[in-house]
Subunit: 136 residues, 2 copies
DNA sequence: ACATTTTATCGTAATGATTACGATTTGTAA
DNA sequence: TTACAAATCGTAATCATTACGATAAAATGT
């Protein structure tokens, strides 16, 4: 996802354009991998002394709702990354060292042949963890 | 996994047999699904007034290391269940309402055909969430 | 059975991530 | 430029989890 694309979504949905929001998006754009609220706080604190937790978390949640960010939970902490450009449903390999990802286009839900008669399937999670070539 | 089987593991590994440990195991045995530390605390508090967090978490971690329990993280909270023991590597459908599970025997790692050249694959997570027939 | 040793537990405080909220500031549109 | 809604600040509260010195209890050897 491009930065201006994300800012357009914000504007179209009636949310305000702020410098902090632009900086949050540019942070995720340059980082190119899963990052925590704490990572973002450190980054923004350099420019905005005394930035509030409220701002960090409110925007992370807002961006997630707007599908600008996608998130996953690793080691008891939520991690966020810019939503992938390609629109189709997909999964990720996630590097445990640098947080960068590799898309997995095929989904196990299509490959499995299980009888879920009587069950209501809501969602699923498939992630592969390890080290990317750079960190390996 | 059977209770006496778990208690045998404890004994063989040199850990002490305590009534609390037996109660913890019988709790997971009767519950038959993923439960939190808080669930366990509520249960044990009925019998042991003033039971310590230390006891709860120390035993949950110990049992996980000994493969008596298996765990997963759901909604920011660790959940535990009796290990499926003897069975092969597998995954789970997990009911978001009652925590009960249904085993998925096939593993997506065998079904996918992805080039991970240069990557180090350490582990993976595949879970399906929804409602079981009882809760649906 | 008793003493010794080792492990388990208690009581409670600390930590880390996240959420909450009244007061204040700021973007936006009229 | 004014008015209003949204965003942010400052800070405290909450929730899950970890930590640790003091005490209790189980296992072991005599």
């Amino acid at each position: 996802m491009q930065l201006n694309q994300a800012l357009t979504i914000l504007k179209d949905e009636g949310y305000k354009y702020t410098e902090k929001r632009e900086d949050i998006l540019s942070f995720f754009n340059k980082e190119d991998g899963y990052r925590t609220a704490s990572d973002l706080l450190s980054f923004l604190s350099k420019k905005y002394e005394g930035i509030s937790y409220d701002t960090i978390y409110r925007n992370l949640h807002l961006f997630s709702e707007l599908n600008i960010l996608e998130s996953t939970e690793l080691d008891g902490e939520k991690h966020f990354r810019l939503a992938c450009g390609h629109e189709e449903h997909h999964h990720h390999f996630i590097c445990k060292s640098c947080g960068k990802t590799k898309a997995i286009k095929s989904c196990p839900m299509n490959l499995l042949n299980i009888d879920f008669n009587g069950y209501l399937i809501e969602n699923h999670k498939f992630e592969i963890y390890g080290l990317c070539p750079n960190c390996n």
